[in-house]
Symmetry: C2
């Protein structure tokens, strides 16, 4: 089955995305326009991204003291992406956008992630940056910055972390002080001077675009000159590398942001990752040191804007992880069909006089391929489901929108974490299918594995997702999100019970869901966060497996014979992948929940000096 | 706790290795001489290996058309290792050996694996090669080759795989034909000419030593010129890079073995990995093309010699995996104590006005550290236990020796596979503890993770170990090995039942062991290998977890208060690591055995065109 066929099945047969075109925002669209976008992306990814994925790994970004040098192929890929209008794919037609649903935009971007996650600079960051400005910036900020980002003239970054504050944003120390007496009269927004250091900034410096628009979190000191502890004191600023006028024309003034160094990474090497100094005086501007920044929204509400984008960013990370997994699946499937070795196991063992068979004929190789298929397609389905929830939240009827938003809050930690863990594992299996060859750089799979390892770290580490899920999301509105999810899972189970081929899976999922519910209650039974959260990560894993099992069962229901004209091999493949997940993986849930429901204290009571 | 303290506890308190000195072979040894060897290795590893572990990764071996260039540090490390006499550590004093028990030799080598698995060329390969000659070569071969390997003048390789035959040795096509009429009169052994290509040959070409002694598998054609299918036709040959006389002096004749290329690997980069052409005519020798090789042992018995060394080689791989895991554990433990971020979770959540704490204070970081400790120390204990079985097999009373040999056969697939999988996972957690920093090359953990990924592949892949275990080893002598293992596990359980602190774990292990036994029977209930072996890998995983749980329970029994004068923090650490394994990991066994005992056919019945 081709990836495209799987994607089309999930979008149309399973999620019925075409029905979104009944809504005014998407009225200009239909199955054909969606297909045209996917065709375009499939072609662009194949032509501009896939062929240079290894190149951007070996020709890592380097700093010559003045500029960050990237391969020409990165520039070409970034330009092709921008010229296709993809940076504004989901935006209003009025700013040059295509008004695509989020789910279709995500599906379109999936091709690029699969072809080369580190190719093309950081197009998706630019979109995300501009989208944030469209949601929270002033019209003047949108005109001066966002529209130029959509056009590909400017690139965007997100500057959150600092060397001493990665997971803990409340500890950032970048300071923003009003820039002189007239600071509030600035047309681009209240003008501040920023000083501080930002770490892990993707695409923080490069020559791909005329300008780079940094969105930076900083704290405005109180009257006593001190920073407010915690996240309440955080504000959001636009800090362009080059200052611009109201129309986004460069004024020629270099802003006081400079590259302190490149991070040399295990993977994801196509995208330069930087340490940036804000306001150190290397590029004094308008009379002095300090990076000029324009406040977005109101002081102290910086995280609100960021969190608005967070769900989407985390779905994008999850989808990226799923797609790197899918790339490894495709590579190892191809290899397994071509590589011959060994003989089938017969009743009398193996007959070495027979010619060797393609290794796809061996049960253990099939296991490794089927696991990859099950994890990567399951993850893809989950990400598309979540993206569809984003659309519902934005364009659905009020009650549906509210439900979608609530469900999305609950599912986001899973959408981020599950593919980051399991599609990485899929990449490891892709190496294993290749044997020794998979361990060499002559095959792509080792790079996929390295690239994918990032996804458990950025946009909130695995541990942070776990705390978010068990510490916040399951408690949301008195457990309303959990109830909502349980309702949807139970609806799927109910439908499965009517299908002889799927009823047993329905039963198993029902058991796992109940177990999850009991464990959630048991974790919080004493009301002590310290006890409840001690095993948040095993909880996250168990929760993720229940969600993916539900997604698979729902997909399998959609692939039942009467459902339509689907290809029989495709149907069998989906059902086998579903069955794999229920037989091999869902049973792990019980083991993971054990420590959760007993509030096992082995880890939290471990003393530092016992290690 | 230092690694050395853990090692000493396992060697002396748990395995009582000192008692080996009661046996004639080890009579010259005692706790002091063992300690002196360990001290020496600890120092050498710290001085010559650890400081250059990153260097040998970045300065990968390269071929200048004539020679393979390695960093000078590799040469220095290799020389220091050889000069310390470690190449012959377990050999007879008569060939310059130390007559160390295998378990002490392995423990000594652990320091080097932990400090830099790819540093020092491939010393352990050289030992293994020479040891094989001591066991299966003629006295003349030992004198001409092995003794010079022990002295560090010659290096050794193992040439088994070919490009088309990695896991499937029965398919090798390297041919060996008698070298002229007088071929049997050669003092160094019957002389053949070899032609063929060998792949994945570690240290196949370098300038570290005067000569390289290849031990190569090849087939001697039958009278019809055809090769015998299967492994029965395989013979073993010594193929030196430079020909030598009876005393191992170089004759100046270059043998017809040449480097076809270097493999560029994901990790383990310090050791050049090569594709070698045997007999292609690049270096015609003694009148013609064809690599001169001397038969070791009898024709057709080549694999017997190799398999003799296989158990030890696989223990060494497992121990290497455990040690790379341990290196990551140490690095992440150090980092977690120094890095501050976040606040403790209190009843009212977190107070951002408090100063951040070292991340080792967070439950999830403790979980990641404790998991690493549990997996890596558990793996280390298993490897030492297996090495102790090797000693028992070699120097024990006849019945004990036979039992040890049988148990070793059963445990070897676990000793090879379990650390390869779980200590790799430990390395991933070491990255995770470091957050974004762990993803950079400024910290050592990403390299550990890359290095360790090899171990599931070489010396028999994971899948091959699984087939060996469920397809051969558990059936051995009508299940005698399984009975023997069960007896030992039950003995540990019985002792645990008398310890209030451990009785619950004893119960759990008893349940898991019984489950494993039932699943083994159920897998083979139909007698069809195809059905039994379809889920051999989940079986391997479950079996491995039962074995490690047993090892931990046995170690924990040894760490009970009355046992001696051990450090209280060390005791608590071992008990916590044991408890971690029983609470968090052993419950997974039930999930893995599910597909085994139902002979689930999801994977094996998957059609190629459903993927």
């Amino acid at each position: 089955m081709t990836f495209r066929a799987t994607l089309d099945f999930l979008l149309h047969d399973w999620l019925a995305v075409e029905r979104l075109c009944e809504r005014p925002r998407f009225a200009e669209h239909g199955r054909e326009t969606f297909a045209a976008v996917l065709d375009l992306c499939e072609t662009l990814a194949a032509e501009k991204f896939a062929p240079v994925n290894r190149l951007v790994d070996t020709e890592e970004p380097r700093f010559d003291g003045e500029r960050v040098i990237l391969p020409a192929a990165t520039q070409a890929a970034a330009r092709a992406y921008a010229e296709a209008g993809l940076l504004a794919a989901s935006q209003d037609a009025s700013v040059g956008g295509m008004q695509l649903p989020c789910v279709v935009e995500m599906a379109a971007n999936a091709f690029f992630s699969k072809a080369g996650i580190g190719v093309g600079g950081a197009n998706m960051l630019t979109s995300g940056n501009a989208n944030l400005l469209m949601a929270h910036g002033s019209p003047a900020q949108q005109r001066a910055f966002a529209v130029h980002e959509y056009a590909g003239r400017f690139a965007g970054t997100m500057c959150l972390s600092e060397p001493q504050a990665g997971s803990s944003l409340s500890d950032i120390t970048t300071r923003a002080v009003p820039d002189g007496a007239g600071f509030e009269a600035e047309p681009l927004g209240p003008r501040y001077r920023l000083r501080g250091t930002k770490m892990w900034i993707s695409a923080g410096e490069h020559e791909l675009t005329e300008n780079i628009v940094h969105l930076a979190l900083a704290k405005i000191p109180g009257p006593d000159g001190r920073l407010v502890p915690g996240t309440r004191g955080i504000s959001l600023f636009i800090v362009p590398k080059w200052l611009v006028d109201a129309d986004g024309r460069l004024t020629g003034e270099r802003n006081d942001v400079s590259l302190a160094g490149l991070n040399h990474k295990l993977g994801y090497r196509g995208i330069p990752n930087t340490l940036l100094n804000f306001g150190e005086g290397r590029h004094p501007v308008r009379g002095g040191a300090g990076a000029v920044g324009y406040l977005v929204g109101r002081p102290g509400e910086g995280l609100k804007g960021m969190f608005h984008m967070m769900n989407e960013a985390r779905i994008a990370v999850g989808l990226g992880a799923a797609m790197i997994g899918m790339a490894g699946y495709e590579a190892s499937l191809t290899y397994a069909k071509l590589r011959t070795q060994g003989r089938p196991v017969g009743a009398a063992g193996k007959d070495p006089a027979q010619p060797p068979i393609p290794i796809i004929g061996h049960a253990d190789v099939k296991r490794m391929l089927l696991a990859q298929k099950s994890w990567c397609e399951g993850a893809l389905a989950l990400e598309l489901y979540c993206a569809r929830l984003v659309d519902e939240q934005r364009t659905g009827a009020p009650e549906d929108a509210a439900q979608a938003g609530l469900l999305l809050e609950l599912l986001t930690p899973i959408a981020k974490s599950w593919p980051s863990q399991w599609c990485l594992e899929a990449n490891s299996l892709a190496i294993q299918v290749h044997g020794g060859y998979g361990y060499t750089r002559d095959f792509p799979v080792e790079q996929y594995w390295r690239d994918n390892r990032l996804n458990m770290i950025h946009e909130g580490t695995h541990g942070i997702q776990a705390l978010d899920l068990l510490g916040r999301k399951v408690l949301l509105d008195g457990g309303a999100a959990m109830k909502l999810l349980a309702g949807r899972v139970n609806a799927t189970i109910e439908r499965a019970m009517a299908e002889p081929a799927l009823a047993a899976f329905g039963n198993e999922l029902a058991g796992a869901l109940q177990h999850l519910g009991r464990a959630t209650k048991a974790a919080w039974a004493t009301g002590q966060p310290e006890e409840a959260l001690a095993n948040a990560t095993p909880y996250l894993q168990a929760f993720g497996h229940v969600v993916i099992a539900w997604v698979w069962l729902d997909v399998a229901l959609c692939a039942q014979p009467r459902a339509g004209r689907m290809d029989e091999a495709q149907r069998q493949g989906l059902l086998a992948a579903c069955r794999y997940f229920f037989r091999h993986d869902l049973p792990l849930v019980a083991a993971w929940l054990k420590v959760v429901e007993t509030r096992d204290d082995t880890c939290r009571t471990m003393h530092e000096d016992w290690f």
